[in-house]
Amino acid sequence: MNDTLTVARAVAWRSLNNVFKNPAIFLPSLLFPLFFFTAFVGGLSAVANIPGFDFPNGYTAFQFVFVLLQSAAFTGVFTGFGMARDFENGFMRRLMLAAPSRSGIVVGYAISTLIRWLAVASLVTVVALIAHMDVGGDGVDLFGLYVLGLLLNIAGTLWATGVAMRLRTQQAAPVMQMPVFLILFFAPVYVPLGLLKGWIHGVASVNPITALLEAGRGLISGRPELTLAAFAIVAGLVLGFAAWAIRGLRRAEAAG
């Protein structure tokens, strides 16, 4: 256990040091959510006038929840890019040789991603508040929203870790990114589920991210709904992707 923590701390420190000292790595994960937020809130606020749009706290809060969760998942994916880069330049191989506990490597990357996402989430929140976001939920509701994001962030990291460990090349970036992009955008991103029509309604109805978005929107508006279901789903994602990441690690070990 001590070995795992020692390795995790060292890997997390190195990863954070790399990210925060290298704007080319940190800025995309910071700026993309802000641009999504600006584009959706600024450009699509008229969508709130569509008959049947019943979210009580306005379009800014409605989109904030999506952008927050999207940033959580994508920060995890960006960490996967870093791991793939570490495989390509040979650092990961040396790390695996040196680390007394290799699962500490996965834990270390997950910790660094969490801290990285907290920085992104803080900035997105400040920008949303400057944009006069109407928050209906109390402290407990908001805490629940951020914990939901945090768990999704861990799930995203573990997913990308599993891919990076298996493919061990930066060319795997679309494999990490595309499924996350699809599952996020096949949820009710722009309008509530009830306003989606046709095939997208069917897809969104069975998409697990829909429950997360609806729970998040319920929490920010102070009218919690589907909260337990959302936490159960995201806990399932974390457990499932933890197994995926650890098995990936074993494959990377076997590959030498």
Binding site: A24, A39, A46, N49, I50
Partner: protein
């Protein structure tokens, strides 16, 4: 056929073949814009119920976006390869041959534009297969491809400039988020007159990408709206001219250094 034409053809063919040999560079620019189209046309269909929305098909409204996005993706990918040519010394070796600098640039751009055109035909076919009918008819489809050619030339020239100026694949790749941001702060998802936030409407109006999208969109949902079409050609032509001038200048400087 003149020697220059043969050289241009050879270099353009090389740019196309090199892209075609990398499945990720073919698949991603074809599929990603279609996925975004599917997502947006499903998720934002309700937007057509807003008073003043110009069509009752969001798919038709949004079909313009892949044309601009695809041109962007294709040219960035191909220019990354061009930057790799510089990094690996291929350009230096080419400079020792009788190929003139301008021929090299035209060949490279010709290849990129060809790739973008193939993609445009694919997007158009997908749109038609899913029930979009071009208000401007067959002539409009031909003009749309011509417009796509100029748009792709503009992005390709800017990308080539970045490749020649920096000689770095990372620098060219970093252009993608920049262009992507321009796409998202444009009128890609909603007509400018329906944007409620004044500052965002102002930004979308000042953003040249809005005019590229609106010109393609005019051909799809409006017909022969010459003002929108003319603005699109003017913006794309201006971008091409500026990009080509910058790229030619950067090429001359790089060859001088060589």
């Amino acid at each position: 056929m003149s020697v220059a034409a043969i050289q241009i053809g050879t270099l353009a063919r090389r740019a196309v073949v090199r892209t075609a040999r990398q499945p990720a560079n073919v698949f991603f620019p074809l599929v990603f814009p279609m996925l975004l189209l599917a997502v947006n046309s499903g998720g934002l269909k309700a937007e057509t119920r807003l008073p003043g929305f110009p069509t009752d098909s969001f798919l038709a409204f949004a079909l313009a976006v892949p044309f601009v996005q695809g041109a962007l993706l294709a040219t960035i990918n191909a220019n990354v390869e061009f930057a790799r040519d510089i990094q690996t010394g291929f350009l230096n070796r080419l400079a020792l041959t009788p190929v003139r600098g301008i021929t090299l640039l035209v060949g490279q751009l010709g290849g990129l534009v060809t790739i973008a055109l193939v993609q445009a035909v694919f997007y158009l076919a997908v749109g038609l297969a899913f029930g979009v009918r071009l208000e401007s008819g067959i002539g409009g489809a031909a003009l749309l491809l011509a417009l796509e050619l100029v748009i792709a030339l503009g992005f390709a020239a800017m990308g080539s400039w970045a490749a020649l100026r920096t000689g770095s694949t990372e620098a060219v790749q970093s252009l993608f988020p920049v262009f992507f941001v321009f796409l998202f702060i444009s009128s890609m998802n909603i007509p400018r007159n329906l944007i409620e936030t004044d500052r965002f409407r102002w930004v979308a109006t000042a953003n040249p990408v809005s005019y590229l999208i609106e010109s393609v969109r005019a051909l799809v949902i409006e017909g022969w709206n010459w003002e929108a079409i003319g603005l699109g050609f003017a913006v794309a032509g201006g971008l091409s001219l500026i990009g080509f001038t910058l790229a030619a200048h950067a090429l001359m400087r790089r060859l001088e250094r060589t």
